[in-house]
């Protein structure tokens, strides 16, 4: 009995005394020691941190089988069973690197992303709103980035030798048909969507993901915000109108509504315009958004935008100024976008979206009424899977249905109409494979079916990126892209094939703390471009082709000079195409060889102001002079523009914003229009295409009313 007592007692005592010493070393895959790793016995407090040599040591009173866990930032966790019986344990652990968003190489060829979430972005969401000359227009700001060719009379994004319609806009993955407001002739149009709505912008100048189709040159992907940012009322008093918005936030969601009225009549009365207005542009717009978190990590968002705008002006004949005719335009636009996204499991997530666009241009041209109507529905579902941390897959399907019609109502009572209805069904799959944090490959394909031509197609996409050291990386991107020809062509011939482009892009990027350098070169091959058969605009085929090649440089620095942030971008473009009415291969009128932009922002704390300056210079663009034998043989003078803006925050809830484009008042010429018939001497009369006014001056006062008085409209950026 005494023996039993001793045994039990000593057992109890030894329970307290039995100690196991665990020691070892933690290294990375290359055998370099890792300091600061956390070594622990699962479900216990016992453990240690590795020292500068990666070594650790601790003792534990635990006994039996336990699991030893090693964790360290940026590395995969390590687990091993250990038997604790008093015998010292020595263990050497090699931690495998984890593919992390923070460290991993990124495919940057052809793409500029702006987001606050990612610290590595070269371009920030706030940059779009604060770039001088852009007046808070997304395209205006992006036009200061490499890869764009400035077309001052258009305001749209012309990318790498591509026409403005080759850039497509997507909101939360859903396509937007006609993302620009109507504008008077030769006046830059503004985008319909304000930058404040979006938390992230990705502007791709080529080689983009298989998810995005129906874009030949560029994809502008905008991701809307998830949060309303607190209940408040925003009032904007603008030199060209005003707006009122209200946002109501609750625990897991928010709703906002905005009404905006714009009237350029008073402004144009003040500053003389080279346009003979009958009535200056007036527009009324209402928009609304609802955002609601659903379940654990689901998100539901709806956004709607309704816009009515109109203007009327007199166009004067080139050969005889006294001959004029009326051009009266009423534009009606509705856009609705909804998206639901959620995770399905630990590895899979999905998003499903639906967008609807309706737009109508009701124009009276001289005596003829031309009504152009387009309706489109885009439904899309995408599944994202992180199969392992080194293998990700994205796959989805979509349908884009468009109905287009153009009705001519002549004043003699006759009318005729051109219409088509197109259905595109597409699916895509794309996989990312990381071999390490330094190398990634992406491969994918996009399959499309088009009902108009009853054709299936497959377009491959591929890219890869390689990171050298901590700061520099190379990326390469390749892809085939297709896009249905412009409406005004398809309405003439429904059997036209889509226009095609093939992109090859090589890019190098170096990011060093607050400085970024990027160099990129590309080659783009166009095929199946629509062409007039023997110069007849009513007989079309796909025999056109072309190419674009060039290189681009980008430098951004906000670390060298205190409070100054600046970037410089330069693009060189060599492009020619033979399409539409071109008799032979020629440089298109929207292409300029050299484009340089310098953007600087300076924050002056004592006067609580940010000053911004943008200087852009663009070499001459070709124009066609019918008096010359050479097609597109003319060349406009160099374009240049110096713009300025000033944002001033006198009170926490008040922002005053002033901007002026073309401060120097330079008379830029974008090309020449010629009369359709020669005069008695056999000469075609010409008229320069110029800015409607040398400068555009804008003044806005933005007031925010909220319970928390420190709220202002800046967080909307």
């Amino acid at each position: 009995m005494k023996t039993l007592f001793t045994v039990v007692l000593s057992g109890i005592i030894s329970l307290g005394i039995a100690q196991t010493k665990i020691s070892g070393k933690i290294m990375d895959a290359q055998g370099e020691s890792i300091p600061g790793a956390n070594i622990s016995l699962e479900q216990t407090y016992d453990g240690a941190s590795s020292d500068v040599e990666g070594k650790f040591q601790f003792t534990t009173t635990e006994t039996g089988n336990k699991i030893l866990v090693v964790t360290f930032v940026g590395h995969k966790g390590f687990k091993q069973n250990v038997e604790l019986n008093g015998k010292p344990i020595f263990i050497e652990v090699k931690l495998e690197e984890e593919i992390s968003q923070l460290e991993a190489v990124e495919i940057t060829a052809g793409s500029f992303t702006a987001s606050d979430a990612s610290r590595r972005t070269v371009f920030k969401a706030i940059d779009i709103a604060t770039t001088a000359g852009a007046t808070a227009d997304i395209a205006g700001a992006l036009n200061t980035l490499p890869g764009t060719q400035k077309n001052g009379e258009s305001g749209r994004l012309f990318v790498r030798g591509g026409d403005g319609n080759e850039t497509r806009t997507f909101i939360d993955g859903n396509v937007v048909l006609d993302a620009y407001n109507p504008s008077a002739p030769n006046t830059p149009s503004r985008g319909r969507f304000l930058p404040f709505m979006f938390k992230g912008t990705s502007f791709s100048t080529g080689g983009y993901s298989a998810e995005y189709g129906q874009a030949l040159s560029s994809a502008l992907v905008l991701n809307s915000k998830d949060d309303g940012g607190g209940s408040r009322t925003d009032i904007g008093l603008l030199s060209v109108g005003g707006d009122v918005a209200h946002t109501q936030s609750w625990d897991r969601g928010s709703a906002s509504a905005k009404v905006q009225y714009t009237n350029l009549q008073p402004y144009m009365g003040l500053i003389s315009q080279r346009v003979d207005w009958k009535s200056a542009p007036v527009s009324i717009e209402a928009s609304g958004a609802l955002r609601q978190h659903v379940g654990k990590d689901g998100m539901f968002k709806v956004y709607g935008n309704f816009n009515n705008s109109n203007f009327a002006l007199y166009e004067h004949s080139i050969s005889d100024y006294n001959q004029k005719f009326l051009y009266d335009l009423k534009n009606n636009y509705r856009y609705l976008n909804s998206i639901y996204q959620s995770s399905l499991s630990e590895k899979w997530s999905m998003r499903s979206g639906l967008s609807y666009t309706y737009l109508q241009n009701d124009a009276l041209v001289d005596q003829t009424n031309i009504v152009e109507t387009q309706q489109g529905i885009h439904a899309k579902t995408v599944f994202d899977g992180s199969i392992t941390d080194k293998f990700e897959i994205k796959s989805g399907a979509e349908i884009i249905q468009r109905n287009y019609s153009q009705d001519f109502n002549l004043n003699d009572g006759t009318s005729h109409s051109l219409a088509f209805s197109e259905l595109i069904a597409a699916s895509f799959v794309e996989a990312d494979l990381y071999t390490s944090n330094n190398f990634v490959m992406r491969g994918g394909a996009r399959m499309e079916y088009n009902n108009l031509i009853n054709q299936f197609s497959v377009d491959p996409r591929a890219s890869l990126a390689y990171k050298m050291g901590k700061k520099g990386q190379f990326s390469f991107a390749y892809g085939k892209f297709r896009q249905t020809a412009k409406n005004e062509l398809v309405r003439v011939n429904h059997q036209l094939n889509p226009e095609k482009a093939e992109h090859f892009i090589l890019s190098y990027q170096l990011v060093n703390n607050k400085r970024t350098f990027r160099a990129e070169t590309y080659y783009k091959k166009y095929s199946s471009l629509v062409k007039y058969v023997q110069g007849d605009a009513n007989v079309l085929d796909n025999s056109g082709d072309g190419f674009a090649k060039g290189f681009e440089l980008f430098w951004r620095d906000n670390g060298t000079i205190n409070n100054i942030d600046y970037w410089i971008s330069y693009s060189y473009l060599d492009t020619k195409r033979n399409y539409l009415n071109y008799p032979y291969e020629a440089i298109p009128t929207f292409a300029s060889k050299h484009n340089l932009s310098v953007v600087a922002k300076y924050f002056i704390q004592p006067i609580r102001s940010q000053l911004g300056v943008t200087y852009s210079i663009t070499s001459g663009r070709p124009y066609n002079d019918p008096n010359s034998d050479k097609f597109n043989g003319g060349k406009t003078p160099t374009y240049s523009d110096l713009s300025f803006n000033w944002s001033y925050l006198p009170k926490p809830y008040l922002i005053i914003y002033f901007s002026c484009t073309n401060v120097l008042g330079r008379n830029n010429i974008f090309g020449y229009n010629y009369s359709t018939t020669p005069d008695t001497n056999g000469i075609y009369a010409s008229r320069a295409i110029t800015q409607a006014a040398p400068r555009f001056i804008f003044l806005g006062i933005f007031i925010t009313l909220s319970k928390d008085k420190s709220m202002n409209q800046l967080p909307n950026l």
Binding site: Y45, D116, P652
Partner: protein, 217 residues
């Protein structure tokens, strides 16, 4: 009889051992936490902070129902971020801090201290790149401090950081710092009277308030 006594002793010893063992478990939590809380308050270098933060992470993984280990792990990471010079690394530490404070929030969603720390997280994140993060993160941090004050009006940490944000805003706009200083005075008062039933409750931040007193003179 003797056998009976021995059995009784045995049972008693075993019982005591078991009772003591289970008490020891709770005591062990409080003791270990106490010791490491002192360490995290006094740690100077990133390495020291990493070691003690690792300890809190270990305790957190064993004590799945307690918010304090995650709270102090998050606090440790924020302190590491404040000592780091490289912006990207600062953000990496703040990401870890954010993960930890979110875990604490899952366990104790209405704990004023946790919400105040969340706000402190945003505040430090703001300082990494005030130019582009200012507007967004000042709003987020002030919202958190406001929520923390609503949950517990006695929380001096929520008050002192709110005072700092208010002071910064007032200074930026050249307006009166009266409101900020009133909040600071309230915070100082709460620091001297602050008592919690929880022996592991946070007790830091008084130095920040004392340091700010100069500005409000």
């Amino acid at each position: 009889m003797k056998q009976c006594t021995i059995t009784t002793i045995l049972i008693v010893v075993l019982l005591v051992a078991i009772v003591k063992f289970s008490f020891a478990n709770d005591n062990k939590y409080a003791e270990t936490m106490q010791k490491n809380i002192t360490t995290v308050y006094t740690a100077q270098t990133i390495e020291e902070l990493q070691a003690v933060t690792n300890t809190f992470e270990r305790i957190a993984s064993a004590e799945k129902t307690k918010w304090e280990p995650y709270y102090y792990a998050s606090f440790g990471y924020v302190m590491m971020a404040t000592r780091e010079k490289d912006g990207a690394k600062k953000d990496a530490y703040l990401d870890l801090a954010f993960t930890a404070v979110n875990k604490a929030k899952e366990i104790a969603p209405n704990e004023s201290e946790v919400i105040a720390l969340e706000g402190f997280n945003y505040m430090i994140r703001l300082t990494v790149d005030p130019g582009s993060r200012g507007p967004q993160y000042s709003g987020l941090s002030m919202a958190s401090f406001g929520k923390a004050m609503a949950l517990n009006p006695e929380n001096p940490r929520a008050l002192v950081f709110m005072a700092q944000m208010q002071y910064g805003t007032a200074q930026f706009f050249g307006s009166s710092t009266e409101e900020a200083c009133a909040t600071l005075a309230k915070s100082l008062e709460k620091f001297s009277t602050f008592k919690s039933d929880n022996p592991l409750a946070p007790a830091w931040g008084k130095a920040v308030a004392e340091g700010m007193k100069e500005q409000c003179k």
